[in-house]
Amino acid sequence: MDSPLHHFELHPIIHLSLGGLDISINKAIIAMWIGLALVFGLFMVASGKGRLLIPGKLQSVLEIAMEFIQGMVDEFIGKEEGKKYFSFVASLFFFILTCNLIGLIPGSYTITSQIAVTGAFAVGIFLMTLVIGFSRHGGHFLSILVPPGIPKVMIPIMIPIEIISMLARPLSLAVRLFANMTAGHTVLAVLFGLAMTAPVWIGWMPFGFTVIINGLEVAIAFIQAYIFTTLTCVYIGDVIRLH
């Protein structure tokens, strides 16, 4: 029997390279593309087919999702400021949700179970918050490292602590999503491995669990997408408000 982690391995399907950089296309990338294409198609159907003032079912679902994200953006970034970041946050939410969900189809792949991908997004968001902070507040942005109202003697200790906590943000953001996706898929792989190898009279049990855990994984896909985007909003809100 294969290791339950075996299915996380990726092998290039189409070999490509860009200036010496290997950009070969593998299963994870294809799965991501299929998912994104489906979601985009669904969006186009829902929003393109004559948007109605009295919405149909698909439009209602989409509108509820949008209002949900809008509420999140309004709460953590601010009603006026939030408008600028809404598209980014909503795209991020749907991107992560799509990647999380597409991986639940057997034989597919969750690209968000790759620490390299979640790390790239987390670092990207971290750098974006730094850019937003410096462009809005200039040098004054560094005051984010000094919590308001602390005694001056504490400042030399607080600054390194704040720097560490700032750096921990992208790390925790990346690891949380990656770990959740990896763990879920590993559990599913283990249970399904059991179901396949065990005799039928006992094998139905791990198989039943696979079904239950699969349902749970759908919920986790939503929750992790929500957490990732909420934290993104919080980080953006923090650098806009400076504390």
Binding site: I29, S87, I115
Partner: protein
């Protein structure tokens, strides 16, 4: 764990995921979000406007109801006055016509009485003439003898008086 061991796939994963996200973001921002956000805004605006106009209409309805009630009240009062006036007028007319009829009846009665009086007088004088002649002739026949003029006249007068007395009594 492959995710920490397969460094060779990192570059392609990072490249394609960031690029795909970029394109996904661009497409959503350009084609999907604006119409949906517009619809949401439009709906919110419409609902707000509808509620406002409904409030306005309600206020108008209340005002119209009040004015109508006032009009109805005044119309009722007017009608009441008209009915009262008509009643008193008709009463007056009734009284007047009754009076007129009564006076007419009285007048007719008076006229009748006068006519009766005249007729009676006429009748009486005629009766008197006939009676005189009758009395004379019957007396002459009864006595079968002539009398002088004085006796005749006296006797005639007496007979007449008697007849008249009887007639008046009758």
């Amino acid at each position: 764990m492959p995710q920490f061991e397969q460094f060779e796939v990192f570059s392609s994963l990072i490249f394609w995921s960031l690029l795909s996200f970029g394109i996904f973001f661009f497409l959503l921002k350009k084609f999907v979000f604006p119409p949906i956000l517009d619809t949401l805004e439009e709906r919110e605006k419409k609902i707000r406007e509808d509620i406002e106009s409904a409030d306005k209409l309600k206020q108008e309805a209340v005002a119209i109801k009040e004015s109508l009630e006032n009009e109805l009240k005044s119309a009722h009062e007017k009608a009441k006055t008209i009915v009262q006036m008509a009643t008193s007028e008709s009463k007056k007319i009734q009284e007047k016509s009754l009076e007129e009829t009564q006076s007419k009846v009285k007048q007719m009665q008076n006229d009748m009485e006068r006519e009766i009086e005249v007729a009676r007088n006429k009748l009486m004088s005629e009766v008197r003439g006939f009676t005189a002649a009758l009395t004379i002739s019957s007396t002459e026949k009864f006595l079968k003898k002539t009398m002088d003029d004085t006796d005749r006249k006296k006797l005639a007068e007496e007979s007449i008086e008697e007849v008249l007395k009887e007639m008046q009594q009758g």
